[in-house]
Symmetry: C3
């Protein structure tokens, strides 16, 4: 049991973390200011602060506990999520400020919106991390996160630069790019890192009564606050209530499909936890169109259906067919509903455009954005995968996967009765 | 251990869930619109959104984890709570729109308030579910929830129709009807369903170190956010701070009574968890009168005292005297403080009315509303009990009670150290 | 295992709790009114209510679960935290009203701000409680809390009375006094209570996979909502985003230092949990100066560094050198970052004052306030320590420390699989 031969991170994690952290502080010292708002703006700020806190909870608590279902990896799930998110948020603030803001001087002005934007970038990283969850050490995770954030902001910058005049790029910030980009980036990295290594099912990849409940808890926070996430940049009753209804349908559908697709009629808690978020992800793509509630509910129904079926039938096939192991099932949980929502948005938009030339132009742009995103995510994922293979980072031994013992001090345990 | 003979739900849960879900989507397609607010209303919307989120957390997280103390029923507690609440909210939105709104056309307009109203109806269902917690399968729970919501809305409609001209019915929405209606409805159903079956104390009805803490966690969310619930329809400093103070007194009293009534001076965590909410429930009935803080604190003290004593002495007697088994002790936790608050409100109102004729009229109406609520809840509960006895729903075997194994896929477990 | 000889609290806890509770209700009846705001103020009230709820969650959930890492003391951690906080809030409301408000008549007017102030006093008590966590019974905790709140309010009153004309006392409310006062008070009490008794390391003072995660959960709520705490009395974007950035740096630094200072390069979860809050505590002292983000980040970095090193090297030395046992490491977690923040604020203020006489005067006042706080906390802590030694309170036997069995009813447990 004792991981005697797990490589010590003493000479890797502290230097990398300190170096990055000091570098960030130096950059902040030279380039970042806080934008003090006047009295009037302050009002809106206080309002949106509650919304921001919801997203904050999703990021640090929700995503952190989502992965705690692994029976021996709960400390790492929650704490490395915090480590990575805390780094990603700082890096994203800097990158967003340099690439995406339009200030004339070289000064980044922080408002509450900057922090929300940074958290959305970090969310994309946390989605991507799900694919390599439990198979990499924290140093690799930090490198992974920095490249992912860079890729995500770069992708936004490319899209903004190419399509800005059309003014239709407002939805490029939508939740869906977060999920599609993150999931594809992560899959690519995972494929390259673990090719033909993970064939057998790991004993420690299982769920227990205790850990399943901790994961339920994280999932519920994601599920409950998803309306705030979708309404982060569209503070409208329509965005919130559509997401709310879609998530309700999603939860019901996920459980029904899980019971239906099991030979004994039993529900798989881990499948349900991931699929029940599908409605929120898919509807995130269409909130700017403010569809009728039943359309949001239908999208939630379809997204959850596809996602739950994917968990039951596709996840294992992916492993055998493509040597691609995906711990949290990010492909089914995020990419599938994301792409579904993307097409739903395309159809909704087309129905509101009467002129065929404009419609054609719109489709062209729309498809281009998806293709660019897919392309950038796959390329950056490939780079990351190759970089992380390097033995410099002291990668985990295969038999120490999904085990906290490699990274955490445990006392000689008292019997935990 | 393996529940080889637990009836499979494959042919029951998915069809029922899909059927209901598709039906709801169709009804939404024809009858529900989102009410887009103007600029001014939007402001209030954003404010009350934070309040709404508190109630949302109570409903899906608080109630869900309240029942996780059962040592082997934690997955079902949290997940079936989610399933039922997600369904109940949709059904309540539809029913509230048709029966209680006063629109001229047949269109239901959704605002944030509609969602709050729907969540209050769902809360009533979740209270009622506490009585049959762990003894029914999810299909029975869905049927149970639909009838309970129907009954609750019907009760409101009857009261509104009969007493509308008096304009004193504003408090009919108060939290107290939720608790009284839910608790009585649930007790009636439980009595009919399990008459003379549950005599012995089940081994699995116990609490463990682990599950007690998960339940503590759910209870704390209910306890912390109860001020938001009581102020849902009365956004006033008085409602919030009175509830806050009453809950503080309640928590202290619950622990003191639990220690006092134990022969060894030890506290029972499950009793404390349920009784410490009594202050919030009871004060919910009087918030419209804006009493002085000490009155709210006294009500909280009495409610918690009665509730904690009820848990220690009444719960088991109910089982022997009336064959009525109540898993979460809903009668002591919700009905007793609810009725106490109801009478407190009666007294507070009477003290503010000087004229005897008006006072008499008021008492008459007030008592009528309570009697109607009791009557409707008992009748609907009886109907539900008879309906759920039907073997069509493949009811649980008695020896599989309070066990997740009947509904959830468990891997062959790794030793959970 | 069965604590047959643990003294029963039946004759102690209920009488003390009832007595105090009834006394509080009586005081409230004669002296406390709710201040109903007009329409305009109501707006601000609703806004700050969301902020208040964050602090509420920190107090009752965050602090309560922070101490649950002790493998057999989780019920007591969460429930006694609730008991003590509920009492402390009531007592602080009364004391704050009498000593610190400037109303002409003897009536205390409750607003939302009163509740926030009361919760800040209670937070100071909960910090102090960390030192004696697991070593005292709930009756001792109640006495401890009442004296601590009295001391904390008294200290504020002294400072306000002495330095009021200077108008520089606005920062006396800052989070830092809470942490410094609480930590020193608790250390003094702990020293006197347990002198030369706790030499050996207790088996039950360890963490387990399960309890570490519950503690992570409480810590995360503290970590996530600390910006709301620091901005409680300074609702400004600067306070919030500085705290946010400082906490992010803090979390990264805590993990890096913990890995660096371990011989095997492994991270200690309990150390990380406490140190990652250091950034929030230290920055709490400087929010009124609105420093640039990089200054806040640097303060967070230093605070977390010192705190994490303190946990690794100082905690055990304190025990051997001064016979001073500190269960939650409050000295490293709260006092050290608090004093660091205090000096950071001194330097920041001095840099903004050009005139040397004013600067000298400022330093004098500033140092006086710290010395008064230290003096009052140590004196009150000594009194409390002597008082609690009294055998009237039936103190815990040494071998029953850190064990829920002494206070809570446990069923004969089903194997918790």
């Amino acid at each position: 049991m004792a991981p005697k031969y797990a490589p010590s991170l003493r000479a890797r994690l502290p230097p990398v973390a300190f170096l990055l952290q000091v570098a960030f502080i130096v950059i902040f010292a030279f380039c970042v200011k806080i934008e003090h708002n006047g009295r009037e703006k302050n009002q809106n700020f206080i309002n949106s602060y509650a919304n921001f806190q919801d997203i904050h909870v999703m990021l640090f608590l929700g995503f952190g506990f989502l992965g705690t279902f692994l029976v021996r990896y709960a400390f790492s799930s929650s704490a490395f999520n915090l480590l990575v998110a805390a780094m990603a948020v700082q890096w994203a603030t800097i990158l967003n400020g340099f690439l995406l803001s339009h200030s004339s001087d070289r000064v980044i002005r922080i408002q509450l919106k900057s922090l929300v934007d940074a958290e959305l970038c970090a969310a994309s990283t946390l989605v991507a991390m799900g694919t390599i969850h439990g198979k990499t050490n924290p140093v690799q995770l930090l490198i992974f996160a920095l490249i992912e954030v860079t890729g995500f902001v770069l992708n936004q910058w490319i899209i903004q630069t190419l399509f800005q005049p059309r003014q239709e790029t407002q939805w490029l910030y939508s939740m869906v790019l977060i999920n599609i980009f993150g999931a594809l980036f992560g899959m690519m990295t995972s494929c390259l890192l673990f090719r033909s290594k993970i064939q057998q099912k790991f004993e420690k990849e299982k769920v227990s009564r205790r850990t399943g409940l901790f994961a339920m808890f994280g999932t519920l926070f994601l599920w409950m606050f998803w309306p705030s996430l979708n309404a982060a940049l569209e503070p409208d009753i329509s965005a919130k209530s559509n997401t709310y209804l879609s998530l309700a349908v999603s939860a019901v559908t996920a459980m029904a499909v899980s019971a239906l697709s099991s030979s004994k009629g039993k529900i798989n808690l881990v499948h349900v936890q991931s699929s029940m978020l599908a409605g929120g992800i898919a509807v995130g793509a269409v909130v700017t169109s403010s569809p009728a509630p039943w359309i949001a509910m239908t999208i939630g129904f379809c997204a959850s259906l596809l996602s739950a079926l994917g968990f039951r039938y596709m996840k294992d096939h992916m492993l055998f067919a493509f040597d691609c192991h995906d711990t949290l099932g990010v492909l089914c949980a995020h990419a599938v509903p994301g792409i579904l929502g993307w097409f739903a948005q395309l159809i909704l938009r087309l129905m509101s455009i009467s002129h065929s030339t404009i419609a054609f132009q719109f489709v062209l742009h729309y498809v281009c954005i998806l293709l660019i995103t897919v392309f950038v995510s796959l390329v950056m994922g490939t780079i990351t995968g190759i970089l992380l293979k390097c033995s410099l980072w002291k990668p985990q031994r295969d038999n120490k996967r999904y085990d906290d013992q490699a990274y955490w001090e445990f006392p000689h345990l008292l019997e935990d009765k």
